[in-house]
């Protein structure tokens, strides 16, 4: 067959020259390379103390947002759970009572909102599905834990801190 490119290069094994057989020039060259790395800046980031900067569209832990008056935005419509390809989100809806007007924005809210962090694939589809801009994946990396049950995050971990809380 005709060669398709002209990049073919036949390597022939030549006997080693005297300098190559002596090893020493090659060793000196190698040692010069390693010692030059001795003075270079190390690439290590000391993780627990220093964290690598994430890109702006990094998707980490979810947070359930509040509006400008500190009311929870989520209305438990279930679109996030529906859109979730990993089926990580479950919720139970409840009706707002008159005295809870300051806590929830609309008449319906999520009394239980759970995300299983072991199922979640951090695709961000819940974020896109949400009509109320209530869920964002803007948190840090989900921390490690020992038990599976501890990875099911409830509202206590997901809901944003109230604005007026000092």
């Amino acid at each position: 067959m005709e060669p398709l490119t002209s990049k073919k290069k036949v390597l022939e094994q030549k006997p080693l020259t005297l300098a190559e057989r002596m090893y020493l020039p090659a060793i000196a060259k190698g040692m010069a390379i390693t010692i030059s790395h001795f003075f270079k800046k190390e690439a290590t980031i000391r993780y627990p103390e220093v964290e690598r900067e994430f890109s702006t569209n990094f998707r980490g832990m979810h947070s359930l947002k509040r509006d400008e008056e500190g009311k929870e935005r989520c209305t438990a419509c279930g679109l996030c759970a529906l859109s979730c390809p990993a089926e990580a989100i479950t919720m139970i809806a409840a009706e707002r009572k008159p005295e809870e007007k300051d806590l929830y924005r609309e008449e319906k809210y999520a009394s239980v909102y759970e995300i299983n962090m072991l199922r979640c694939i951090f695709c961000g589809l819940c974020e896109e599905a949400c009509p109320k801009e209530a869920i964002y994946l803007d948190g840090p990396i989900v921390p490690a834990d020992y038990l599976r049950k501890d990875f099911i995050y409830g509202k206590d971990k997901l809901v944003e801190q109230p604005l007026n809380k000092k």
Binding site: L24, I27, G30, M31, I33, T34, I35, H37, F38, K40, K41, E42, A43, T44, R46
Partner: protein, 345 residues
């Protein structure tokens, strides 16, 4: 022999023993740090400031580990192996002159445990004994890999000892003495032997790498072929002793190289310093210079280890028998001819 003499020697032995153990301990730390820096990493930095207590933590870990002696191992030899490795590593320091004599009052204290007139032969004897620890341990483990490693270590040491001995002969022709003290005294100021014996020095250094089982000649413990080599079956402090003995060996051979070829405690301008600092501080500065040379060699050992890949076994034998030995013999011939010519005219 008066009692003061015995005390003086005893103190000297204790100090040297302590220093060589501490240096070996911190060599493990230095090795990891140097390796890290050469690879753009940081190395151990968690235990204490900049990881300074890492060797202590490692030592503690070694002590606390479970001790396992394989059922089919030869129990006594299995236990003697690491002890012998450690012993032979430590006794090599006895003949090394650490500095010129200190004068306190009318008492002259030589900074050398003993100046035997065949010091070089003593070093050779001790170094070749060192392989027994490896051999006995490897054989007693009753493990194929350990045995193979022990055989490798033995044949490697035998091969390289010849080249080492021959490279020393050329040095003896130059210095005219086998006493380490006299060899050092002969290199006063900057008249270091490496200037007269550069080829001999390179030969000696290559052989020293092979004798201490350091990279690129660390075939007895190459992980890819022999798991852990002769210390595959070892655990706890016995393993620690083997690893430790390697570092002490490195320290001793660095000291020997500095003594034989790099002037020991001599340095340019030493006469002026000795005349101006008195009979105690002056020699101690020399000791400091000697240790700087030793540390430079230890750094060199590590630098080489993290640069050069391991030799294949046939390459090792080829280098030992077909390159180093003929070169060493040629070095002897050239040196003796040059000396004869210089003395003849």
């Amino acid at each position: 022999m008066d009692i003061a003499f015995v005390i003086e020697k005893f103190v000297l032995v204790a100090i040297i023993f302590g220093i060589s153990l501490v240096i070996a301990m911190y060599s493990t730390y230095a090795e990891r740090k140097v390796a890290a820096f050469l690879q753009d990493r940081l190395g151990p930095d968690r235990a204490g400031p900049a990881g300074m207590f890492q060797p202590l933590a490692d030592g503690l870990k070694m002590f606390m580990k479970e001790e396992i002696i394989p059922t089919n191992a030869s129990k006594w030899l299995f236990m003697i192996g690491p002890g012998l490795a450690m012993l032979t590593a430590c006794i090599g320091t006895a003949v090394i002159p650490w500095g010129s004599a200190i004068t306190v009052g009318d008492r002259v204290i030589p900074l050398q445990v003993t100046d035997i007139n065949v010091g070089i032969l003593y070093i050779f004897g001790v170094v070749s004994l060192g392989v027994y620890g490896v051999m006995i341990g490897g054989w007693a483990s009753n493990n194929k890999y350990s045995l193979l490693s022990a055989i490798r270590a033995a044949s490697q040491n035998i091969s390289y000892e010849i080249a080492m001995g021959l490279s020393i002969i050329a040095l003896l022709l130059v210095t005219g003495s086998m006493s380490l003290k006299e060899i050092v005294e002969g290199q006063h100021g900057w008249h270091w032997n490496v200037l007269y014996q550069p080829v001999g020095f390179i030969l000696f250094m290559v052989c020293a790498f092979a004798e201490t089982n350091r990279a690129p000649f660390d075939l007895p413990e190459c992980e890819t072929e022999l798991i852990g080599g002769y210390h595959t079956e070892y655990s706890s402090m016995k393993l620690g002793f083997y690893l430790f003995a390697e570092y002490i060996n490195m320290f001793v051979s660095a000291a020997v190289m500095a003594t034989l070829y790099f002037g020991g405690y001599n340095y340019p301008g030493m006469d002026w310093v000795l005349a101006n600092t008195g009979p105690v501080i002056g020699p101690l500065i020399g000791v400091g210079v000697f240790f700087i040379k030793i540390f430079a060699f230890i750094f060199f050992f590590m630098w080489v280890r993290w640069t050069i890949p391991r030799f294949r076994y046939d390459q090792l034998m080829h280098l030992g028998w077909k390159v180093l030995i003929p070169l060493a013999i040629a070095n002897i011939v050239v040196t003796s001819v040059v000396i004869a010519v210089i003395e003849g005219f």
